[in-house]
Symmetry: C2
Subunit: 438 residues, 2 copies
């Protein structure tokens, strides 16, 4: 949970705040370029942005975690190999096409890396590729090679914001979070709006730091912090073939305590994960489910996920309808199917701090109903309204506030806990996804 709840009343206010967060740590530069191309599979013009993150000198201290989808994209296959390389010098990211199961996809990714390396005087294996966008299409390699020099020529230090803007697809706004630890700094950017579920998502996250942390320590830390952050969110239960979280240190600042660094890293990851949900496709309510007194973390998180992935409950939240029966249905379905031994007799449920279920029965009355509706309304990000042709488009391109629908699931069955973030199921989601590719 962010220590301060931010609110924004317009895009400019949000961009000004982002700019205050976006200072690049020492040793990094970013550059982007945007160009037109024609996809081979659906011959009508499209636009792609190439985003380049470059280190002033290659570093051995980098870490990455990837999707568990059984059909990983070619960049994920290449990226897993890069983890075995001695150094990383740059990350080259494209949007629009994700390069998944496309003919010669791996060769295409390697070609992009090789040309990036040549322009930056690196080894090809020192470049990490990333792609996001339509699954199944082929990268327009020739057009990308032609565009690369513009990205390298434009490399500048100062702000990570151009990269945060370059990597988006259907995101409404760029996402940047930072932390200062001693004399050093951590800055993270995220792309992610749909196909977001546990075990990462069409989510690309790049976290840059100038704080020196040895490679092995860095990798162990990243594995620990992704569990309660990026692996505890779900927009739509889909799991992308391209998810990537990369963490790179330029090593410029020494003498920072590892514990303090990890704590700050965890905070940056949790805030970015929550940003990804808040900016999730069509999300009008962020739902935060805190599962307490569970037998273990995995059970707690699984029940939280079951709640934020239950379509009927998500629809009720979208309609500001405190249909708590659907909440109990979701917990009961998960438990009946996946945790039949779990004793639910001490289950207590709260929404917005109001007790709604205890001792095996609902605790409802008209006064509570009114208060629950008010809680749901206060967490709404924007009102839903179709345009003249019946298409629902979010009217905001900034996060108006950080309030959530707050649900507490107290299992009364142990000492473990987990917090899961998800969102409602809205007309805006359907509008976005029933016609995304066209």
């Amino acid at each position: 949970m962010p220590s301060t709840q931010l609110t924004f009343t317009n895009r400019e206010e949000h961009r000004r705040w982002l700019a205050t967060q976006a200072a690049l740590p020492a040793g990094f530069r970013v550059g982007t370029t945007r160009f037109d191309f024609v996809p081979r599979e659906a011959p009508k013009p499209a636009k792609m942005t190439l985003t380049l993150i470059a280190l002033d000198r290659p570093t051995p201290d980098f870490a990455a975690v990837f999707t568990r989808n059984a059909f990983p994209g070619a960049p994920v296959i290449v990226g897993r190999k890069r983890l075995g390389e001695p150094r990383l010098g740059a990350i080259i990211i494209n949007n629009k096409i994700s390069n998944v199961c496309a003919p010669d996809g791996e060769a295409a990714a390697e070609q992009i890396c090789a040309e990036t390396a040549r322009l930056l005087q690196l080894q090809p294996t020192e470049v990490l590729p990333s792609s996001t966008g339509v699954i199944g299409w082929s990268l327009p390699v020739e057009a990308m090679l032609a565009a690369l020099p513009a990205a390298t020529a434009g490399l500048t230090g100062g702000s990570v914001l151009p990269a945060a803007e370059g990597i988006v697809t259907t995101d409404l706004y760029p996402k940047v979070r930072c932390a200062t630890v001693g004399a050093g700094r951590i800055v993270g950017i995220a792309k992610g709006a749909g196909m977001i579920e546990p075990n990462l998502a069409t989510m690309l996250v790049y976290i840059l730091t100038d704080i020196a942390v040895p490679r092995d320590t860095l990798r162990a830390m990243l594995r620990r912090v992704v569990g309660p952050s990026f692996n505890s969110i779900s927009v739509d239960s889909d799991m992308s073939t391209s998810d990537t979280v990369a963490l790179v240190s330029s090593g410029r600042v020494t003498g920072v305590s590892a514990a303090e660094f990890e704590q700050a890293l965890a905070r940056v990851c949790t805030e970015l994960a929550e940003d990804v949900v808040r900016n999730g496709e069509g999300i009008r309510h962020v739902i935060r489910v805190h599962v307490a007194h569970a037998p273990d973390f995995d059970t707690a998180r699984a029940i939280g996920r079951a709640v934020v992935n239950a379509p009927l409950f998500k629809c009720a939240v979208a309609g500001n309808d405190p249909n708590v029966g659907r909440l109990v249905q979701a917990i009961g379905k998960h438990t009946g199917l996946h945790a039949p031994g779990l004793d639910l007799s001490r289950l207590r449920l709260q929404m917005g701090g109001i007790e709604i279920f205890a001792g095996g029965i609902f605790r409802l009355d008209p006064q509570k109903e009114t208060a629950l509706v008010a809680h749901l309304r206060s967490a709404e990000l924007y009102p839903s309204k179709p345009d003249a042709s019946g298409v629902f488009v979010p009217p905001v391109d900034y996060p108006p506030h950080e309030r959530c629908v707050e649900i507490t699931v107290d299992l009364g069955a142990g000492e473990a806990a987990a917090t899961v973030f998800g969102g409602d199921l809205t007309h805006e989601y359907v509008s976005e996804n029933a016609d995304y590719r066209s």
Copy 2:
């Protein structure tokens, strides 16, 4: 798959066809009554229908299967007990309120049974209660007791259609399927529109037959036939707290082969299950996923479910968008998380008979794209259009046709197969469920 694909151009045509299917087997009568009441939890007037199915004399030969949700409704708790009773004489069903986790819910269900029994001169334990509707509210017992005599007084043989109409909630139309076996008959009715997933759903199914089948045989048959029928469908992955499939024999017709009976029963169940999906809340495309050459039935069915439960793919289908990348994503997510040992290297995918994926890569071109769009369009049940206030309401109250989006997932990894039915994710679903209770 129904042996004949039915089409209907208007409600009357469909009702006439239903009437031809609806003849009650010997030994059964049905009666319904509709009345107004005021729910305790949200004091504004509502309507409830009571539906009574009565046997001319109590029978020992009845079977039932229920939800696996960990919070079953009171009627399910009572129904499980009834399975231990020597005879069943009647089924009393109400819609509007599901009697789940409500204070004294079990006592309320027993009160309704007792009064039904008194009116029909049965033992209270010879009456099976069923409820569907809002979860968490309490049954209006007084109003129901007052209404019961009208239902018993109206009991008539002839047609099951009044019962099929009486049990619905948000269903667009009643669902009836029948079979003739020798001199006997099987007729089944189903209620179910939302909260539909494997392991049953807010689905109430009553199958009546005059063919004599001993209790134990009947129960074993029911367990076998629900697996590939009602437990192989999913509208929205939610699993109701009230799901019930009851099978009752009046025993009037003897001498029918058990094998022929079971085959006919399986067909009735499969057709009803498909009807439930076709009439699922907001469904504009039925998706039939046939998973072939799987190592076992459970793996095959789980992959089929993963496809029909993937929100992004469902949205693509809603938009007649052959976004096959999202199909591969769904299979890859499921396999990566739940079947990591499954070898997908021989995976072949077809949509509408067109090969779209083989040998690890997509097989797409603009001609196939056009053909895939045409296939999706031909399976559309009705066009999507919002009313003046932006609410999407299905323009049909009958099934226009029985065409499906046909997907074949050939795993090339065994000899087992499964067919799963599901639907798309539409504005109509969100409209229905973001404001269902209000």
